[in-house]
Amino acid sequence: MDYFIELLFSGLTRGAIYALIALGYTMVYGIIGLINFAHGEIYMIGAFTALIVATVLSLWGLPLFAVLALAALAAAVWAAAYGCTIERLAYRPLRGAPRLSPLISAIGMSIFLQNYVLLAQTSEFQPFPALIPDLPLLEPWAAVVGTTDLAILVVSTVVMVLLTLFIRFSRMGKAMRATAQDRTMALLTGINVDTVISVTFVVGSALAAIGGLLIASHIGQINFAIGFIAGIKAFTAAVLGGIGSIPGAVLGSFVLGLTESFATGYVSSDYEDVFAFSLLVLILIFRPAGLLGKGSVDKV
């Protein structure tokens, strides 16, 4: 039974992380219909920025709490900056181009960013400091649920609630929903679509960076290539839930996280990534609209 609960928690933790990344995918897809292939790299850059800032600050002797807060802030700020720069350079000139062009551009961006970090930093795995201290409160259950697991669940829940409120009630959130529904119409009603798209990238990237920081302190090491697999899995989650739908992305992430956790726990850990990919292939074949998505019809 303990094993089951352990797997359950590890699945939920995975799911929460996937959700933080999948939200960026789904928001961008909802608004400009682009699979932002470089999103996984944004997450990786967030984790790296957090690592660098945390290392420098802790060498300067700041208390752990301040280090954690500043590292998270820096990760979010820089990831957001990268996100909107990428949009400006690689996607905006391609609006109105054939569908495949921005996708190829995004793949190029993803390869570029991976190798940029590889060359600027290192190809080795970097140990990531445990930024989240163990709570003595959780001592009795330490075998099944760690403090980082709990922190990941709490932080991601809070972030998701804030995001939902932002999208539902803020002016910008309304503009985002309007743009997602019909970009031309939104433009006609005086919404600055360029700004909306930039904000979408900023928000999505910041979420991914928070995810990067959390998972890095959970796993304890990062390198330049972590974005690829994480990106594909988060994309799987977004598609599973119905791409373009925000609750769908969260639901899909938890389904994927739990599936992976139980499959690796009870079947085989060698094929961890195969489960996710197979799930992706199966959904796309049998239910391309996803769990909560609406089926779309191409009209002439």
């Binding site: 820089w78 569908r99 961006m109």
Partner: protein, 403 residues
């Protein structure tokens, strides 16, 4: 004539500052997590600033010039000329002369240069075959296949395994590799071809990774990450070839393979199915309305592309005499895609030129070898933004009535 205004300078300075900010943590700070030391590389900040400033100014100048030129063309002051390369190629005698010189050069290559150079050129030629194969799928039919390397792996492992267990030779396995590639292409294509373009890309990517992961983990079947060694090179009527001779022989075989591929792709391009592919790429709905069987046409593109990857895989296994899953990562697919995109989707000459550039340049510019993938990524983005038609634009056959 465009001049640099103070506004341009201010903008360029802004761009430079933004990129200095952007690259600050990753390019300037270098941490050593083991020794817990920090190295500050301020000179990088300077480089980024200068590069950002210059790049911004240059791109502004170019944009202004292009705009001015379009304006002149619109007013009828200047005529739009076809690209220089196309004008030269269009000249029949020049073209023939160029082809003869090229053919002689390729035939004499092994006598002129060392075995090492021959080996490199063989690799480049294999990428030409792969590029042309993927060109059928991506360039002609417009299906973005990110898992192309999976079929390449199928071909390579077909040769490795059939040789290991049954002792089959290169020539027997070559068609089998192609067929198995096609079979896998159809197996994958059948369920996924109903998907829209971008989903298809991701599913093929997933498929490519699944094949690689299975090869890595199913040790009883594929010997896992350690791979299969001692695969024989192709033989010549049972003659005992020295290593050098075998390499030269393989070079000529690859060259023949390239010629065969060019011939087939060229014929396919203008055939009924080739025109159906192009129609499908341009507008799927209109194409269906014209009575083209969408699924069958797509499936044919997938299967044919995969056939070429399968055969190239057999060549690869014969050339390196060793296969392991690490040769078939997503990056390999990305390199092949980069060849097709750089060359110009649907253009045979373009793909050949791009394959030679992308494979040979990094070989000879060893000093910059680390930057290879960085440049590939940048090339993909830049080509899409500035020149989506590629280096060489594919020419479409036109019908002129009464000719």
């Amino acid at each position: 004539m465009a001049v640099i205004t103070p506004k341009d300078l201010r903008n360029a300075a802004g761009v430079a500052l933004w990129f200095m900010f952007l690259t600050f943590p990753l390019l300037v700070v270098k941490i050593n997590t083991v020794a817990r030391t920090v190295e500050w590389r301020w000179q990088n900040l300077l480089w980024v600033g200068v590069a950002g400033f210059v790049a911004s100014l240059v791109s502004r100048l170019f944009a202004a010039r292009k705009l001015a030129r379009q304006e002149r063309i619109r007013q009828g002051l200047e005529r739009q000329l076809p690209a220089a390369g196309r004008r030269l190629l269009g000249h029949p005698r020049l073209r023939l002369a160029a082809e003869v010189v090229l053919a002689l050069f390729l035939l004499a290559f092994p006598t002129l240069f060392s075995t090492y150079q021959v080996n490199i050129l063989t690799t480049a030629l294999m990428y030409v075959v792969l590029g042309l194969g993927l060109n059928i799928v991506v360039g002609l039919a417009g299906l973005l296949d990110l898992g192309y390397v999976a079929f390449y792996a199928v071909g390579a492992y077909t040769y490795a395994l059939l040789n290991l267990h049954f002792g089959l030779g290169f020539w027997t396995v070559l068609p089998i590799g192609g067929l198995l590639g096609a079979l896998f292409g159809i197996l994958l294509g059948f369920p996924v071809l109903r998907l829209r373009g971008d989903y298809l890309a991701i599913v093929t990517l997933g498929f490519g990774e699944i094949i690689r992961l299975v090869l890595e983990n199913w040790s009883d079947f594929s010997r896992g990450p350690s791979g299969i060694a001692n695969i024989p090179r192709p033989g010549l009527f049972g003659l005992d070839l020295t290593l050098d001779a075998a390499i030269v022989y393989l070079y000529f075989l690859t060259l023949a393979m390239v010629l065969f591929t060019v011939f087939v792709v060229n014929r396919l391009q203008h055939s009924r199915i080739g025109r159906a592919w192009i129609a499908l790429r341009e507008d799927e709905i209109a194409c269906q309305a014209m009575g083209i069987d969408k699924t069958r046409t797509k499936l044919a593109a997938f299967a044919l592309g995969a056939t070429w990857a399968g055969m190239a895989g057999v060549f690869f296994a014969a050339k390196t005499t060793f296969v392991n899953p690490a040769s078939f990562t997503f990056l390999e697919s990305a390199i092949i895609l980069c060849i097709v995109v750089l060359g110009g989707m649907g253009s045979i000459v373009g793909v050949i030129v791009a394959a030679l550039i992308l494979i040979l340049l990094p070989e000879y510019l060893r000093a910059f070898a680390d930057y290879r993938m960085l440049v590939f990524g940048a090339v993909l983005v830049a080509m899409m933004v500035f020149r989506p038609q590629g280096l060489v634009t594919g020419v479409r056959r036109t019908y002129t009535p009464g000719r």
